[in-house]
């Protein structure tokens, strides 16, 4: 079958590309160094994946196309890239599922610095992984000559994260990362959970405090991109939510994230609806006047646009039933 692939090409040293590269490899770059799209046609079977197409191009049409890949079976995590505008593993994305108006568009994810063609700089990703101290700090005493005795369930509980192949697809499409490059990000926080909830780890409490800080677990906005993008079912958001529960249970509540969640719950329990007027001050901290003052320009803009929430907050009818829900759910807001 014939497939059409549109590849985002970029090479910062394009001006050095001159030379005798031979008839099968037309130099794709006329001028340096802007991103250009180049279209290729490949002949591959029906079940072929995007990576098959890229390898075919690289081997038989244009040796200057560069792409990271190794295992071809979604285990090594090398080939995460943007396919039709979202991060996916090229080796796991079937051409037939990703052909849109007759074309599959492949490029380096715009959220990461590009090095060349489909190869992006993964260092931001690795730095985030390093930042969460992703190693076991052994609970003492370490059993001599034998394993820690722990229930199998406590190990299986971690296997969802251990399945992470560090491909970076989650970070590439993370909405919080897009607006805050310092956000620790889905994969790293999932890895953080893996160690924080390991019964053999001695630093769980310190970890939870650390992850509750700025750029940590509370900076995720629940957009679910990471859950959707992950090729291995790691569901990083689920791991982040587990970390939040653990952090709150461990008493790390003095942060905007927890206060925001608390203000939300208190308001709904008290009136059956969200009091947007008090949500922000409560999240920032009622006595944190400096931070509150900074929000004033936005408040004026909202006022002008008629978007300011009502000053007087009303309770909904049948509030008792809402309170019953809180009772049934249990937890801190009964």
């Amino acid at each position: 079958m014939e497939w059409t692939i549109r590849v985002g090409r970029y090479n910062p040293e394009a001006q050095n590309m001159a030379g005798d590269v031979g008839p099968p490899y037309p130099p794709p770059y006329e001028a340096a160094p802007t991103k250009v799209y180049q279209t290729f046609t490949v002949d591959l079977p029906e079940h072929a994946v995007v990576l098959d197409a890229l390898i075919d191009i690289r081997e038989y049409q244009d040796e200057t196309l560069v792409v990271r890949c190794a295992c071809r079976s979604a285990i090594c995590g090398s080939c995460a890239m943007w396919i039709n505008g979202h991060a996916n593993l090229a080796c796991k994305s079937k051409l037939k599922d990703f052909t849109k108006d007759g074309v599959t568009t492949v490029e380096s994810p715009p959220s990461m610095p590009v090095i060349r063609d489909l190869v992006c700089d993964m260092n931001p990703f690795w730095e985030k992984m390093r930042k969460v101290s992703p190693w076991l700090e052994n609970k003492q005493p370490v059993p001599q000559g034998e394993e820690y005795r722990v229930p199998n369930a406590s190990m299986e509980n971690l296997i969802q994260e251990v399945a992470c192949i560090a491909c970076g697809a989650c970070l590439m499409d993370c909405e919080s990362f897009a607006i805050n490059p310092d956000f620790t990000g889905p994969a790293a926080l999932a890895r953080a959970y893996r160690y924080a909830d390991d019964p053999r780890d001695a630093r769980s409490k310190e970890r939870l405090e650390e992850y509750s800080g700025p750029d940590g677990i509370w900076d995720c906005t629940h957009c679910f991109e990471c859950v959707q993008r992950c090729p291995k079912g790691v569901a990083p958001l689920d791991q982040i939510l587990k970390l939040r529960h653990m952090a709150v249970d461990a008493g790390f509540t003095n942060n905007p994230g927890t206060r925001h969640a608390d203000a939300f719950a208190e308001s709904v329990r008290g009136s059956g609806r969200l009091n947007e007027l008090t949500l922000l001050p409560k999240s920032l901290g009622l006595f944190n006047i400096a931070a509150q003052l900074k929000t004033l320009p936005s408040a004026f803009n909202m006022l002008r646009a008629g978007k300011l929430p009502p000053i007087i907050h009303h309770k909904i009818p049948g509030l008792e039933r809402i309170k019953n829900i809180f009772k049934r759910v249990g937890g801190r807001f009964q």
Binding site: N11, P12, E13, N16, M17, G19, D20, V21, G22, P23, P24, Y25, H47, R58, E59, Y60, E63, T64, V66, V67, R68, C69, A70, C71, R72, S73, A74, I75, C76, G77, I115, R116, V119, W126, R130, S133, P134, W135, V142, G145, E146, E147, Y148, R149, V150, P151, N152, M155, E156, L158, I159, V162, A163, C164, I165, A166, Y195, D198, R200, D201
Partner: protein, 568 residues
């Protein structure tokens, strides 16, 4: 640029990272050089597990015997004794590092059954054991702060006065070639699976370490012993873990028969890999296959067990050939998987070339002999990775500095780097000839699978050798279709093809030399094992610039297990 370390490690899979960690613990300044990020290494593909005799009623001696029997008595028994007796403590150490091994009801490490083993002694994490180990070791490398040169491609080893003193490598992100000096170098760069097409191996498994050590003068041993895994997926050749059979899967021919009852009535599907692969090949050759495949059937295990214990292969079958293993058997065939041979080392990972060590798939201690048991390769990487790291670090303290005045030394180092830069540049500058690495690589792989696969004979091997001479000649005219510097993969692929051809030649010469059938070497013209003449290793060394290596032999060390007939 010239960089210095006490110990350099080439490769960042399990063996490389374990070696680096141990060398660092022994006080050495360590640098790991890897052409891919450590997490991308091929160790992550090991699915089934890792062997150790820990449980009650098991002993390291039984594990050793199973390994030696599996090797068809070609393994060196002193080395097997080291591996099997040290296995339990290495597994426990991994557990202490944080690997989330499967547990039994008492919370202790639990096992699964594996091929060729008389006891269930395989420890595992679902069907992602290799990945779980690799991630944990990488985390330990981060914790220890070991320097990793990620995406640095090694082009040569640096030998001075008969000792290995480092390597040259291209930093892919800049295209610069650098000299990395060290007092000891541990090659842990994995196998050479891509000599064959198809293969279960990743595209990066191109025998870089094996070929470079060979070029540097280190002898290679048991290179004829190429393992074909019995269950690789039709078409792509992806691995379908042996754990499937460990959990009770059947192998069926086109008539729906469990044909292994004819070949291995006791162990059935769990006979050793060489035996099962040969049985499948016979079934297929005699017309009881379907499209060159037999079937792996797990339906009777039930959806829960499949999804719980074998999720990855379920996903692979569904993704790559659209078969749901819960409801349908999946077509599989024997496919190139592993090389038992490699750089000849002692039990400390030391090769006969001073300063050069090797560990993992690229090494040959030899613990696998003619055939490796499933779940022994992860063990091999850890035990001999650790030992080589420790020994190399200790050796660097004792090793004399390179001889001669420092200034002369420095000049010689710079001259070597310049010469290597010119060699690589010459390849890059070669004008267009129409000869591409991709075409030659495919030709090489298909030819090797056809002529040097499960069954071999003199005529086939001789024609393979002839073909290899032609490929080598054509290789001399391969042109690199990318003239840039940044991340120039066309250049590294062309260099890799050179490594592959070196490996292929040593495989074919070794296979031609061994005139008997043992383990993975099945000669139809010499169908019997011949202990009188061939209970010895074939050792090949580079013979100057001559295409034919020097061929020698090395005795097999027998300690307590006399060779017997092998039945499963």
């Amino acid at each position: 640029m010239i960089l210095d370390h006490d110990v350099l490690v080439m490769g960042a899979g399990l063996a490389g990272m374990r070696a680096a960690l141990e060398a660092a613990r022994h006080g050495a300044s360590v640098g790991i050089v890897s052409k891919v990020h450590p997490i991308r290494s091929h160790s992550n593909a090991a699915q089934g597990g890792i062997n150790a005799a820990i449980g009650e009623g098991d002993s390291w001696q039984t594990h050793a015997f199973d390994t030696i029997k599996g090797s068809d008595y070609l393994a060196d028994q002193d080395a097997v004794e080291v591996m099997c007796s040290e296995a339990p403590s290495d597994i426990i150490e991994l557990e202490h590092m944080g690997v989330i091994f499967f547990r039994d009801d008492a919370g202790k490490l639990g096992t699964r059954a594996f091929g060729g083993a008389s006891k269930a002694r395989t420890y595992f994490v679902g069907d992602i054991t290799g990945q779980a180990l690799l991630n944990t070791l990488y985390d330990q490398i981060l914790k220890a702060g070991v320097k990793v040169y990620e995406e640095w491609f090694t082009t040569s080893l640096y030998v001075v006065d008969g000792a290995c003193r480092g390597m040259t490598a291209i930093d892919m992100l800049t295209g610069e070639l650098h000299l990395l000096r060290a007092k000891a170098l541990i090659v842990a760069a994995g196998g050479c699976g891509r000599v064959y097409e198809p293969s279960t191996n990743a595209l990066i498994c191109t025998g870089d370490g094996i070929a470079l050590a060979y070029r540097a003068g280190a002898p290679l041993m048991d290179m004829e012993m190429v393992q074909y895994h019995p269950t690789t997926l039709k078409g792509s050749g992806f691995l379908m873990t042996e754990a499937a059979r460990g959990e009770g899967a059947y192998l069926l021919n086109s008539e729906g028969d469990r044909f292994m009852k004819k070949y291995a009535p006791n162990m059935m599907e769990l006979a050793s890999r060489d035996v099962v692969s040969r049985s499948e090949s016979v079934e297929i050759a005699e017309g009881r296959g379907t499209d060159g495949c037999v079937f792996l059937d797990v339906r009777h295990l039930g959806r829960d067990a499949i999804m719980h214990k074998l999720p990855q292969i379920h996903e692979i079958a569904l993704d790559f050939i659209g078969i749901d293993m819960v409801t349908q058997p999946v077509p599989v065939r024997p496919g190139m998987h592993y090389i038992m041979g490699g750089i000849k080392t002692d039990v400390n990972g030391a090769s006969p070339l001073p300063g050069l060590y090797a560990a993992g798939e690229c090494a040959c201690v030899s613990v696998h002999g003619g055939n490796r048991l499933g779940a022994n390769s992860l063990l091999d990487t850890l035990v001999f990775g650790r030992r080589s790291g420790a020994h190399a670090a200790d050796w660097t303290r004792a090793a004399a500095a390179a001889s001669g005045p420092a200034q002369a030394r420095e000049t010689a180092d710079e001259a070597f780097l310049t010469a290597e830069q010119q060699r690589v540049q010459a390849l890059l500058d070669r004008p267009y000839t129409g000869q591409t690495h991709a075409r030659l690589r495919l030709e090489l792989g298909t030819m090797m699978d056809e002529k040097v696969g499960v069954y071999r004979d003199e005529a086939g091997l001789a024609s393979a050798l002839e073909k290899l001479h032609e490929l080598r000649r054509l290789y001399e005219s391969v042109s690199v279709g990318d003239k840039g510097r940044l991340f120039n993969q066309a250049l590294t692929f062309a260099l890799e093809l050179g490594y592959l051809i070196d490996c292929a030649e040593t495989i074919v010469h070794s296979a031609l030399t061994r005139k008997e059938s043992r383990g993975a070497q099945s000669r139809t013209d010499f169908p019997a094992r011949n202990d009188t003449e061939w209970l010895k290793h074939v050792v090949v060394s580079r013979n100057g610039a001559a295409p034919k290596p020097t061929i020698g032999f090395s005795p097999v060390t027998i300690t307590q297990w006399a060779p017997q007939e092998r039945k499963y």
